[in-house]
């Protein structure tokens, strides 16, 4: 029984590691400027975690095999170095390594959060609400018109509660259900929620940020590859949470300008 258990632990440990080693399921193509740091951090953590995982499970299995069914008269022996050596190993090998990992990981976080957006970044607003994302571009005047929450009306498709009659800044705002941006241009994404908590997650962009009702948040990033990518909501927001998504379209500057003109005509 003990030997069977030991073998089972070893088999499970190795089987668990196989999909990782074979890179079966991993992050998709990186279309961001900060993604490389995140991906490197992930790989380093995976190596360290993998070593700790395999070592501890294999040693556990080996000790169960070796130290069960011992002869009656055999004396108990202690691990060389006793508790002291193991405490040292825990603090130095695992503890300091893991802290070092964390320290290095701050670079990737800082690249996203500790640098402000450049003044030339293109502002786009996103509003999350049960159960859709809507986007707003400021139009030629470069200013977003004020939001009047009491005027939000899904039936008339006034998703942002704009008053184009009285607010001059709102007249040229462009509201869309699709998030299109030009490639290699920094985007300043201004985020707010209409109702409950939501989250904005684009795996290829290496961005995940919650919307907080009552707070105006923002993230900034530069997309580096043209393509179509899914935006999914990752903060439980109600019965339609599973279906709350939109598409990010990264286009050439030319295609983006054309698209924006088309969208403006539809307002």
């Amino acid at each position: 029984m003990a030997k069977l258990f030991a073998i089972t632990i070893v088999v499970i440990a190795i089987a668990s590691a196989v999909p990782i080693i074979l890179h079966t399921w991993e992050a998709p193509v990186d279309i961001s400027t900060h993604g490389k740091l995140i991906d490197e951090q992930m790989s380093e953590t995976m190596v360290e975690a993998g070593i700790c995982f395999l070592a501890s499970q294999l040693i556990l299995g080996f000790f169960i095999w070796r130290y069960s069914n011992r002869p009656q008269g055999e004396k108990i022996r202690s691990f060389p170095g006793g508790a002291r050596g193991l405490v040292a190993a825990a603090v130095i090998v695992v503890g300091l390594e893991v802290m070092a990992l964390g320290a290095f990981g701050t670079r990737a976080w800082a690249a996203i959060y500790f640098t402000p957006p450049s003044p030339q970044a293109m502002p786009v607003q996103v509003q999350a609400g049960q159960f859709a994302f809507y986007f707003r571009y400021p139009g030629p005047d470069g200013t977003f018109g004020p939001i009047h929450p009491e005027q939000i009306n899904e039936a008339t498709e006034n998703f942002f509660g704009l008053d184009t009659t009285h607010d001059a800044d709102s007249k040229d705002d462009i509201v869309t259900a699709q998030f299109a941006i030009p490639v290699n241009r920094e985007i300043h994404l201004l985020m707010h929620s209409k109702d409950v908590g939501h989250s904005f997650f684009v795996r290829e962009l290496r961005i995940q940020q919650d919307f907080v009702p009552g707070l105006d948040l923002s993230v900034h990033f530069t997309p580096t590859k043209i393509g179509r990518y899914e935006i999914v909501c990752t903060q439980l927001c109600g019965l339609g949470h599973y279906n709350m998504k939109a598409y990010l379209e990264v286009m050439s500057q030319e295609d983006f300008d054309k698209w924006l003109k088309q969208q403006a005509a539809l307002q």
């Binding site: 258990f5 556990l60 055999e74 964390g102 009491e150 919307f211």
Partner: protein, 594 residues
């Protein structure tokens, strides 16, 4: 060390009458059994909920039989509506975390064995102890009632983030009455826990028998003692948070709801509240809570492992200090649940360092366990198999924490199945293994009968292999971007993952069925199991020096006197390779705590 118990507990006569003996019992042993039975009912409800969820995820068009008995509207034709999936998911998490993982390892085993292991007749406040169980029972009844109100239970998850949880029924089905019942249930549960912690702490500090110094306490007692200390401050924060949430529903307040929210084109009548405030309050409780779930298991597993290895751990004190540091650090890490929540990103970095640091005491404990196996004489039985399985599960679940502790990596893994795999392995499965280890180990003492070893081993094999088959793939799903709390996977990038979900569901059904083997073993052995000797495992601690089951006052009127620490194994004595704590026999030993 004088005997304090004579001053504190009145020596009482044995209880008479059915109600006093079995229902409103003042006896810590009966109360412990009541808590365990409550957790047993709760875990099978939670298990069935998980089966329904898993079947829906793998085969969304399959009509699940019998659902109409649970809800007439939640699953028309046996197919779950999106909201009902979330409602069942919310109750699965709530029931499992509170009524199983916080109840069985701590209140269940702790109530029964803490007084015995410290050498006391009972806890110092038996009436408060009885109330703690019945208050918990009422909390459970209120939670279950949420299933049967017209709009059903809440759908906001066991975490109940605001404003979804605070806006009322406008925010979704179940968010009215169901959410209020949920919050009331949890607030009542907190009261029960506080009453229980009161007894545990005073018993440990004040009722130890003569010779039982703090360092001579078994590690199971340290686990329960430390857990009750964590519980005091953690539950004391959750209770007011739940009260504020109820007030937002019924009293027109806006603690958690800011102004200008629009739901269904209606401006909501709230202003001034903070969404993030709920998260801070909840997770300030929520992170210590996961240590409340696991620390008793660490104590029990240490205790079972030592008895099974026939030698003490490499250092008794290092384990105690590590458990204390875990408890202390557990208050400093809660923000790791909020890295991308919108709180100040500097806070995320600040929280990530103690989160990474908490790996140190956890690793120390695991290495001491594994290192103590070296040179030991391991006895394999159902109890020791689950204790060893605990180590494997805790390691697997703990290591995925290396990823989640780093904010930059959390960007890719937050709210995915990676998180779900992490907490199920490190908390749910590991704690369950601790409960099983404790059950197989202490069943003879509690009932006076042995459990069936063959059935125990069958239960172990299916559960160990099955739990890995269920939860290891969750990590891969998370790395592939599978978002959690989705009732269906409609996104393009998730389509290739549907086959994995089918595999997991099949594993979950088989592993769940194995838990019926455990239930059968429990019930059959209780009535028809082989009679148990006083000390079937040749253990040293005080529970083994009394009868199986113990008399109503634990030690038959004469409190023990302790001469040794609880882990004198691997020595030579008149009884064999161990000496009981209350044996005055002098022995040759490497170290005997004073």
């Amino acid at each position: 060390m004088h005997d304090m118990s004579a001053h504190v507990v009145h020596h009482h006569a044995p209880p008479t009458g059915f109600l006093r003996k079995y229902i409103f019992s003042l006896d810590h042993k009966v109360i412990g059994e009541q808590y365990y039975l409550l957790a047993l009912v709760a875990v099978y409800i939670g298990l069935i909920l998980s089966w329904i969820m898993r079947i829906h995820l793998a085969w969304p068009n399959y009509a699940i039989p019998g659902i109409r008995f649970l809800s007439s509207t939640g699953a028309p034709g046996g197919i779950l509506t999106p909201e009902y999936y979330l409602q069942l998911m919310t109750m699965h998490g709530t029931i499992m975390v509170f009524f199983v993982l916080t109840t069985a390892p701590f209140a269940g085993f702790g109530n029964f064995f803490l007084p015995i292991q410290v050498g006391a007749e009972d806890m110092p406040f038996p009436h408060i102890n009885m109330m703690s169980f019945w208050v918990t029972f009422v909390a459970f009844a209120v939670a279950i009632a949420a299933f049967f109100v017209p709009t059903g239970p809440p759908l906001s998850g066991w975490t109940a983030y605001a404003p979804l949880s605070a806006l009322g029924s406008v925010a979704g089905p179940g968010q009215g009455t169901g959410q209020v019942l949920w919050a009331i249930s949890i607030a009542i549960f907190c009261i029960g826990q506080l009453l229980g912690s009161l007894n545990f702490i005073t018993t440990t500090l004040d009722l130890r028998c003569q010779g039982m110094s703090l360092m001579r306490l078994p590690l199971s007692v340290w686990g329960w003692f430390i857990t009750s200390c964590i519980g005091l401050t953690a539950f004391a924060v959750l209770m007011p948070a739940c009260i504020l949430l109820v007030l937002d529903h019924v009293a027109g307040t806006s603690f958690f709801v800011p102004s200008n929210l629009v739901v269904n084109d209606q401006l909501q009548p709230h202003a001034g509240g903070s969404t993030l405030l709920w998260q801070h309050l909840f997770w300030f409780f929520g992170h210590p809570e996961v240590y409340i779930a696991i620390v008793p298991g660490m104590g029990v597993v240490s205790h079972v492992l030592i008895t099974s290895m026939r030698r003490p751990l490499l250092s008794h004190r290092v384990i105690i200090y590590s458990l204390v540091s875990l408890a202390f650090l557990s208050y400093m890490v809660y923000g790791h649940h909020m890295f991308v929540s919108g709180m100040n990103p500097f806070s995320s970095i600040a929280f990530s360092f103690p989160t990474l640091a908490i790996t140190i005491p956890s690793t120390i404990i695991v290495l001491i366990w594994i290192g103590s196996l070296y040179g030991s004489k391991l006895r394999i039985n159902s109890a020791s198999l689950f204790a060893l399985g605990f180590i494997s599960m805790f390691v697997s679940g703990g290591i995925s924490g290396f990823f989640l502790a780093q904010p930059s990596i959390d960007i890719m893994l937050h709210a995915t199945y990676f998180v779900v795999g992490h907490f199920h392995l490190v908390m749910a499965v590991a704690a369950l293994f601790g409960i099983f280890a404790g059950t197989y180990f202490w069943f003879p003492k509690v009932t006076g009968r042995m459990m069936n070893e063959t059935l125990g081993k069958i239960h172990f094999w299916f559960t160990f292999a099955g739990a890995y088959c269920i939860f290891m793939p969750f990590h891969y799903l998370g790395m592939a971007g599978n978002v959690r709390r989705y009732q269906a996977f409609v996104d393009d990038f998730m389509q290739p993952l549907l086959g994995v979900h089918k595999f997991i569901t099949i594993a979950a059904l088989i592993t769940g069925a194995a838990q019926l083997v455990f239930l059968y073993n429990l019930i059959h052995s209780r009535f028809w199991g082989e009679r148990a000797p006083q000390n079937p495992w040749e253990g040293t601690s005080l529970e083994w020096s009394t009868t199986s089951p113990p008399p109503f006052d634990n030690f038959g009127g004469k409190l023990p006197v302790v001469y040794h620490d609880p882990y004198q194994y691997g020595i030579e004595s008149s009884t064999g390779d161990y000496v009981m704590q209350d044996s005055p026999e002098q022995i040759n030993t490497v170290r005997d705590e004073r």
